[in-house]
Point group: none
Chain length 228, copies 2
């Protein structure tokens, strides 16, 4: 069953961004725009985890945090503005499990959520395969290491992630925009040609290694990791 997350955040944009990312990761997301609503929705749906903004009008995050703590042990992650150092202390005092400083990276948020859920026992987020093996090619995202024909090849993050993504679904074509969405993040606004450049760089590392796979251009569409 899906893990449910309640977002209590008055800034609509931040909330939507979070929601989009979390849903993509398979979480069931509910959003509350203020503290009062947050508490109400909390009681209604009893989520597995709460993301709670500190700065909110009327009923602030700490009040909500204490209120939730008074009735259950649901993990709470606070979202605090940068510089408010005391928040860290407050957080623990009021029973928060972790806190994230704005502005935050989505990856950061996901990592924290998984960490907190892991800590609070029970819920286990099933992890995907982090290691792909093809003929003379190993893509290991745990070691963050690319092995080509038995040799380790230094490969920057973006290239690793792009290759890993393509190779996770062999023979499937992705458009540049799909790749930008999935690898760069849907909040990336740049030239789609940047994909070409990364493909080029990957090809330099991979060319002539094996007959059984290659990074193929699908003209007018995009790229795929082709496996014969």
């Amino acid at each position: 069953m899906a893990v449910s997350v309640l977002i209590v955040e008055d800034d609509r944009n931040i909330a939507e961004l979070l929601q989009m990312y979390l849903e993509k990761e398979g979480y069931a997301v509910t959003w509350a725009a203020d503290g009062g609503q947050g508490l109400a929705k909390y009681r209604a749906i009893k989520p597995d985890l709460v993301l709670l903004d500190v700065m909110m009008p009327v009923m602030d995050g700490w009040s909500v945090c204490r209120a939730i703590r008074a009735e259950a042990q649901t993990p709470i992650i606070m979202l605090t503005a940068k510089g408010e150092t005391d928040d860290k202390v407050n957080g623990l005092k009021n029973g928060a499990d972790d806190y994230i400083t704005k502005p935050f990276e989505m990856k950061e948020v996901l990592a924290r959520i998984e960490a907190v859920l892991r800590r609070s026992s029970g819920v286990t987020t099933e992890k995907k395969a982090r290691r792909l093996v093809f003929d003379k090619l190993i893509i290991d995202m745990d070691a963050f290491e690319l092995t080509v024909d038995g040799k380790k090849v230094d490969t920057p993050p973006k290239e690793m992630e792009l290759l890993f993504y393509l190779a996770s679904s062999p023979n499937r074509v992705y458009t540049r925009n799909q790749l930008l969405d999935e690898v760069w993040g849907f909040d990336y606004f740049g030239d789609s040609r940047t994909v070409d450049v990364h493909v080029k760089r990957l090809r330099e590392k991979l060319e002539g290694v094996s007959e059984s796979w290659n990074l193929k251009t699908v003209w007018g569409v995009g790229y795929k990791f082709e496996v014969l």
Copy 2:
């Protein structure tokens, strides 16, 4: 089977902090908010160990301690406020096995628990490898000693723990935040660049010693202890 611990502590925050840490270490934790409840839960679940706060309203820690001692030899660790020196004497008089002064470090608590359990025979906490050996490198967390190329090298705690953590999962990359969570504790409030500095200090101690391993930077991701 998991080792069970009963926490009797009226301060919800402290209790939760303890619970979180202990569960992460694999203990089965039960919490009681006051002395009466504590005694009741003690009788219900017969835990392997009791963490008992001294200062509690209604029925204080000493009473609970004596009550438990009257019926079993279950190890008891008292949690006392700083300055209450007499507690030490009281503790022994009332049959406590150990005592810890607030505010305490979680690591301290874990160490005490393991020590007490070891002493009270019976329960054996199967502990992980506390000693890692690589080519010309010995990381001994029991002796808290680092041996490089046959020579002991004075190494401060944080560096030892960081190295030990990284070396416990060779070739696996950890981000700075993961390392902060795991080595510094998830309740650490500080700059993630502090990891860099510790890595630097470790490298000074380790550089040029062996070809078969090294502390490697994974650009854009984090660090790993690489073993060839």
